[in-house]
Symmetry: C2
Subunit: 624 residues, 2 copies
């Protein structure tokens, strides 16, 4: 029975695969090359790999599924792919929201010109094989050849690198490339293989990786994956709690993210057509919690007042100590942090945007689960930063029909008299709504007067109806959606956005106040981050998510943290600059700032609309 092959048909993607009975649908999907979302690693916790069994036997739903899925959905064939095990031929429907392959990931970011000045260079070596009259050691003969050819002196190599040399040299006839960092050989490769570097923007939710040629600076590949630590908590607070309180928690969190970065390195190398051990350097920018969890540093002092990091200095650590299979002696530089809640990602953002060198008053915002705010004032102490917990709503979490910015996500919403206009990622039927979409939707609800200043949906306004979670507004009716269900904005969704925007707006106000900066003096507002780059600035201004600086002052720069990590990867000078930035930033602790809570509460309100729009602006809602 267990040796019997079952045929699994995946719809609507149209893929088929044969697997032994007992295989999970998640494994079957992987075998078929379908990227099913699975943030908990197949443990039945995250509910992301939801699909519907249309035909055939996929076993009884177990405890995990019964805990996550209502009886009605189970009855309709909804299953978690990781839990359902096939017992015969099965036909399933994979909703778009369960696919990860098409997830949009901001890996572009600022195209800053960085003078390449890599910390690792590749040098060609050619020497002769040992003989009875020339029995210099393997490393000696190569090091002496490198000295003769390139003037490299006093070279050393770790055992891990020496392990590579002896067999490789004999295979290549003593012609090699040596990857040299300062006076140390960190890896050997076949002749002509240039060293590559890996830059990582390690986010709480997403991990973006970039592979670059360390000699030319050329980007060879870019890719992103989810941070698998999500299975242990969506925000940094939950993850730190897991690390501190659960036995083995710190090791588990470190292991999860290390293995994700390692896989990412493999993916990037494959895409660039290079060997993994050509990756001879890496640079990681992440917030302080991600930084500590990756390095398995102590987090107890980071998760309780006064929230101090174990270290905020740059840390150079061997890649293999983090379980990363790069060149055997490769180092990872962990970029420096500022404080418990202003991390290396913020430093990298400042590095990439040049905020540390701005000649005018400028604000930098990196909007995400945590939002970091930097204020640059050429006159005073150059940089002041703060961090606020803006929550995961912008990632689509805690939003009724929220999803990440993958194909099928509503990313833009416009109410017109003719109806609701939607812009959908991948130009397909919508299956949910992502961060920029929900901000748009709330801004439109506000602009058209469907919510009041306190964010309450008006019970009897046109389009406002009662749904299973209270008041809601329909954006896309079931008939036109990829999910086959209505896509709505609920009162709860509005509440989530209010919390997020309130935190950000209050944070900016505190930073301005602390530095005695007149808002009218702000000449530039840089909005960084994946979410920030898709955000509709007018919507954000409309709901007070962004402060009311002149519209022209706003500049969206994409994934600046990633760009900063790339710059530091490619240049020792940029690394030094990153450390000067981190060391020089004045940090403002928002939570203990007098009056912050009141400011936060006030900032959750919506701006008063001077001209209350006529009812004509309110769309004819679908089915309404």
């Amino acid at each position: 029975m267990s040796a019997e092959l079952c045929r699994i048909d995946f719809e609507p993607v149209g893929k088929r695969v044969a697997v032994p009975a007992g295989t999970s649908l998640l494994d079957a999907a992987q075998a078929a090359g379908i990227g099913l979302a699975s943030v908990c690693g197949g443990h039945g916790h995250c509910g992301r790999c939801l699909l519907a069994v249309l035909d055939g036997d996929a076993g009884e739903a177990g405890e995990a599924e019964r805990g996550l899925l209502p009886e009605s959905e189970l009855a309709a064939g909804q299953r978690l792919a990781c839990q359902a095990r096939v017992a015969g031929n099965v036909r399933v429907h994979v909703p778009r929201a369960s696919l990860v392959t098409s997830q949009r990931l901001q890996t572009g970011g600022l195209a800053r010109d960085v003078t390449v000045e890599a910390v690792v260079r590749g040098w060609q070596a050619q020497t002769s094989a040992p003989t009875l009259s020339d029995h210099r050691s393997d490393f000696d003969r190569v090091a002496q050849a490198l000295r003769a050819a390139h003037g490299l002196d006093g070279l050393t190599a770790e055992p891990a690198v020496l392990r590579q040399l002896s067999p490789l040299a004999r295979r290549t006839g003593w012609r090699l490339t040596a990857y040299v960092r300062d006076h140390e050989v960190v890896g050997f490769a076949a002749p002509g293989r240039r060293p590559a570097g890996l830059a990582v923007d390690l986010g709480t939710t997403k991990i973006a990786g970039y592979l670059a040629d360390l000699e030319t600076g050329e980007e060879l590949a870019a890719a992103g994956v989810m941070n698998p630590q999500i299975a242990y908590g969506e925000d940094v607070i939950a993850r730190l709690a897991h690390a501190v309180r659960q036995p083995g928690g710190a090791e588990r969190l470190a292991g999860a993210v290390r293995s994700a970065i390692n896989d990412l390195a493999g993916t990037l190398a494959a895409e660039a057509g290079i060997a993994r051990d050509q990756i001879a350097a890496a640079c990681v920018a992440g917030n302080t919690a991600m930084h500590h969890l990756l390095l398995a540093l102590p987090t107890r002092q980071l998760s309780a007042s006064p929230f101090v990091p174990a270290t905020s200095r740059p840390v150079d650590v061997r890649a293999r100590e983090l379980g990363l299979e790069l060149a055997p002696g490769a180092y990872v530089q962990m970029l420096p942090c500022v404080s418990g809640f202003v991390g290396a990602d913020h430093v990298a953002m400042v590095l990439a945007t040049g905020l540390d060198r701005a000649d005018r008053v400028a604000v930098g915002l990196d909007i995400g689960t945590n939002t970091e705010i930097a204020l640059c004032r050429p006159a005073g102490p150059a940089l002041t930063s703060a961090s606020c917990a803006s929550g995961p709503a912008f990632e689509g979490a805690h939003i009724r029909d929220g999803m990440r910015a993958a194909d099928g996500a509503i990313e833009g919403v416009r109410f017109t008299p003719d109806g609701v206009e939607l812009r959908v990622v991948g130009d397909t039927r919508p299956t949910g709504i992502c961060g920029s979409g929900i901000v748009d939707a709330v801004a439109e609800l506000h602009r058209t007067g469907l919510i009041n200043e306190r964010g309450r949906l008006r019970r009897d306004a046109p389009g406002v109806r009662r749904g299973r979670d209270g008041l809601e507004v329909l954006l896309a009716p079931a008939a036109g959606t990829g999910s086959g269900t209505d896509i709505v904005v609920t009162q709860g969704d509005v509440d989530e956005i209010q919390l997020a925007k309130g935190a950000i707006a209050a944070g900016v106000r505190v930073v301005l106040a602390v530095t005695g900066t007149d808002p009218a003096d702000v000449q530039e507002v840089i909005v960084a981050g994946a979410f920030g780059s898709y955000l509709n600035i007018d919507s954000a201004l409309g709901i007070g998510l962004l402060p009311r600086f002149p519209r022209a002052a706003y500049r969206q720069v994409g994934n600046a943290a990633g760009a900063g990590a790339k710059a530091a990867l490619l240049s020792a000078t940029e690394r030094e600059r990153a450390w000067r930035i981190a060391d020089g930033i004045g940090y403002v602790e928002l939570t203990t700032f007098p009056g912050f809570q009141r400011l936060f509460a006030r900032s959750m309100q919506f701006p008063t609309i001077a001209d209350v729009p006529t009812i004509a602006d309110v769309p004819r809602f679908p089915g309404g």
Copy 2:
């Protein structure tokens, strides 16, 4: 049954212990605090933990024991302690030869004055706890305190060290000792705890360890253990073969020696009354094979002509990468090697004896399983070295009644007209004969004419009798020995010594010839090594083991390799000197030297005795 306690009496040591049924006698001995020899780690391979069950049930002998012990010995109750499992009260007899506790280990060596200039220093730091208005990271506040107090700048620390800091600082109220190497903190400790260093002389047979105060240079403890790799082969050739040919062999050999050094570090720290993580630096000198096997470097090229090392340069490697639990960031320096068969132990010997700076023609000999020969000529290229395989006979191996230099070992033999005079380690009843004893015995056999120039025992000479292994001479009759059996010198023993001495004498001759050195010009002969320090020089000269330089030229210096490792541990200047020595030594490959084999064969012969001694010199042999 398995919970039942069995009483085990160990004789003649007079110890008793109660253990659960099923416990091995080896574990029981350990529980009783008896150091039973066990070089294979209790796998029943080495046969060193032999003892006799006098009374009680220790189960049936298994396959391992039946393979190693003749039926007659098994019938007499002989068992391997690691294999025999008690099933009730048991009384056993532990022969001295199976004890390791009393093993004599030359850990003294040259007392060279080294100006301490340690690579790691301890610095006191005192700072304040973080507050809401001072939320510098843990490492930052300590590093800034170190800069303010001691001018230490640009300090870094690895994650492993940072892991130590956060909890420790909170326990000690932010008063700490920082162990600093260059600009890196390699460990933290409570205030006032000075850093210690570990020097290791890693021999094929023995491992000697020394713990020293890194600031004063004072020796805190010294101890030695067997090299557990012996279970995989007694000499380097056998071990290299194991590493190259057996799957997982290299890992097994590395693991065995790493864990032995780690245990040794624990023993030394306990003896010195310090914490293991106060050991902030280590330095290891071993022959090239031991060096490679410890680092798990490739050995294929080392075990086939032209026998080249993977590296001969100094290698600095984190202690934790070798599984050594020292200060979390501590480095081990592996001293440099010269060639496949002239290793770091030889370099350390030259360092300790100052042969590289001698102002006269001098020969250095480090006699062991491999014997290294150095010739210093102030006129020419300063140093020329060679290595010869002298075999394990000097360690008591391959000798009928051979044993290591532990209590009960005959270390000196003198034939007088009144009988055989024995000098026994520990001044007790003899149980066997160690290296210096067997050299003495052979020298006496030769001096008294009981063997001829070719080393053959004269069949009909007084005292020569036929034993179970052919001709033999009785040294101590059963009635007076600790083992209860006769202790003899056999023809086979003489053969082994001939092989060993022949190799050494031929090696010295080749080195003299290659360098064009007139033997008459040699002014000093330094005899180093544990064996060399107990060796009777006159006996060695008598049998031609040592060349016939003037008697006054000979100087015995003890464990010079260990002394060299200590010097390099304590001084960066000495480390640099070690590298200059290794780099500058001219190496002579003996095995391919024309005519070496003939020279070797000739050197196996014994010197002609000018005055053949009268028969009166031949002792009245016991029982003869």
